[in-house]
């Protein structure tokens, strides 16, 4: 049995990775900042991860070797580990890396941002840090019935983990690929998964839905999400030399995923940290910039940007978004918070179209809330 350290015992860490690196070959040490979760994992010594495959749920019992709070974890006590998987959220990588002082094995980042690799390398002053792309949706929860029976239950799709071929020595059900293939997978994930997925979440939050599949059942939401997907599909085909068949397959697969009723993917998870999702090169602003650079106005993505700005969750790391929105004049918000230059195409598009989008969202909300409730 080989030991792996899983930093971040959330959706990817606890739900998905044990299906890739299975319990018959690996033992798991989980590290997290959720004290309650750590205590439960240590007390129960195991939990169940469910995988959606061909419309049915498969069950995997995951034994827990040990669970530690991040503040109490030291890699030096786990020198026999053959890999560390980090799945803590891009903003938390540098802080989490501090717990890895003295690390000697590969550190694999399953984060939604390739720049985290450089940040962790710098923080650790260590080169063996690699990017991996989990092409999967994993809920950090499960259905209310499952959770009532077993609170640690978690549901994942039958996804694929794309890993850097330099770490193919860590044997598992992953796909090991070269830099070009990783780039292709990342572009597809960023713009054909992340962009429409978060738009579905922000629209869902606006209409009061709890799970992504609930939001996707509303025709008004599905129309905007599919529209955003098509805008990105058009852009990617024009901008990158990626086979169109692959892109079409990817887009279809994603729309199916968002509608999957077995996943119970919480909107609060997908919509979290809206300011991070609104960063310049990211899945919303970055996506809209690509469309504009190719000569068309992405109306559905602009609607998505607006819904992200309207997101409110007092528990969220970016809970201050509504405070900023209330205090700043619109033009200052667009320039200082979104980072757009006055007079650039996206700044003009947002400013000019905002009133119309807001009124459309008003109609969508009042129609849809009734349906959700």
């Amino acid at each position: 049995m080989s030991k792996i350290i899983i930093l971040g015992a959330g959706a990817i860490g606890r739900g998905f990775l044990p299906w890739v690196f299975t319990p018959d070959s690996y033992e798991y040490v989980f590290v997290d900042i959720n004290r309650e979760l750590i205590n439960s994992l240590n007390r129960k010594k195991q939990y169940k991860s469910y995988r959606v495959k061909s419309g049915k749920l498969e069950e995997l019992v995951v034994p827990v070797k040990k669970a530690c709070h991040l503040s109490e974890f030291s890699f030096l006590e786990h020198r026999d580990a053959i890999a560390v998987f980090m799945n803590v959220g891009p903003r938390n990588c540098t802080a989490a890396a501090n717990a890895l002082e003295g690390v000697e094995c590969p550190v694999i980042l399953c984060e939604n941002d390739p720049e985290t690799v450089t940040a962790v390398k710098d923080a650790l002053n260590y080169e063996k840090v690699y990017f991996a792309i989990p092409d999967v949706i994993t809920s950090n929860a499960a259905s209310p019935e499952m959770l009532a029976k077993e609170p640690l239950s978690i549901i994942t799709e039958d996804g694929i983990l794309f890993m850097d071929e330099r770490v193919r020595g860590i044997k598992g059900n992953a796909v090991y690929c070269d830099a070009a293939e990783l780039d292709k997978q990342w572009i597809a994930k960023l713009f054909l998964h992340n962009t429409p997925h978060c738009i579905a979440a922000y629209l869902g939050a606006l209409v009061g839905a709890k799970y992504i599949h609930e939001a996707m059942q509303l025709p008004g939401v599905k129309k905007i999400v599919t529209g955003a997907m098509n805008e990105m599909l058009t852009s990617l085909k024009l901008k990158w030399d990626i086979p169109h068949l692959f892109l079409d397959y990817y887009a279809e697969k994603e729309i199916r995923r968002f509608s999957c009723e077995l996943l119970y993917d919480p909107i609060s998870r997908v919509a979290r940290e809206p300011l991070r999702k609104l960063q310049l090169e990211g899945r919303l602003i970055g996506a809209a910039q690509i469309c504009l650079s190719l000569g068309f106005i992405p109306n559905n993505i602009l609607t998505g940007i607006t819904t992200a700005l309207l997101f409110e969750n007092k528990e969220d790391l970016d809970h201050h978004l509504s405070f900023i929105r209330n205090a700043l004049p619109e033009d200052v918000f667009i320039t200082y918070i979104l980072g757009l230059r006055k007079g650039e195409a996206l700044e003009i598009a947002i400013r000019e179209r905002l009133p119309k989008i807001l009124s459309q969202l008003g109609v969508l909300t009042s129609n849809s809330k009734k349906a959700v409730l």
């Binding site: 300011l275 201050h320 978004l321 405070f323 209330n326 200082y336």
Partner: protein
Amino acid sequence: MKANWVLESELALKAISTSLSIIEGQTPENIDFKNKGTPRDIVTELDIAVEKHIREILSSSGYQIIGEEGSKDNKLSISPDKPAWFIDPIDGTTNFISSLPFYAISAGLMLDSRFLTGAVVMPALKEIFFTMGDRGAFMNGKALKVHPASLENSLIAASISGRYSNKTARRKEYDFFGIINDKSRGCLRTGCASFNICYVASGRLQCAYGVANKLWDVAGAFPIALQAGCKAYIERVKGINEISYVVGSGGAVDTIAEMLREKKLADTKLVK
């Protein structure tokens, strides 16, 4: 006394951000300015217009407002048990009329010597700093959190007037500046105290100190640094509109505070 100051934070942020439209597009060639006593102490028509605008917005709070352009002497008449706003319409006016980007619009709320909330905007740098009550400090929406640094690993900024009529005091200030410059990665004089402090809060400088600064120079920026996790030492004399301080992110701040005391430049005490 209430626990957080979120509404006041929102008001401060609103006041400074809406004043941006007054200075936007203005260039030094188009601006009238005059000396307030020395060649370095300058006021422009924009300082006056911005202060008027900020005063109008902050007046809805009902708290006393003290602003650079509306106050004539160094005496300070405020109640120790009521909050008061301190505003600097353009901190770094000389930089502004010289087309240097180190200037800021700043507003902060104080209660006696306590920094409650503040907001600072740097128009040329497109950076806006603010607190949200007692719930954190932010730059352009991103949460700020500082990391500790020792004096030798710190880039430092000083706000010293260097125009003491007392020659001994003046020499002491410059000698001290030289010592800090030698013991650290360098010591800057940017001419904008709120810039110095906000840049410490955002981790680009590691420490800032000031001797006999005006309260309106620092009242907007200080709460931001404190909520970003900075440590600070201050010296205030009641009834006088001045403050000496050291604010920073680690060992450097303790060392400089100690050195200021040793050199008898400022008897700063730790802010709790």
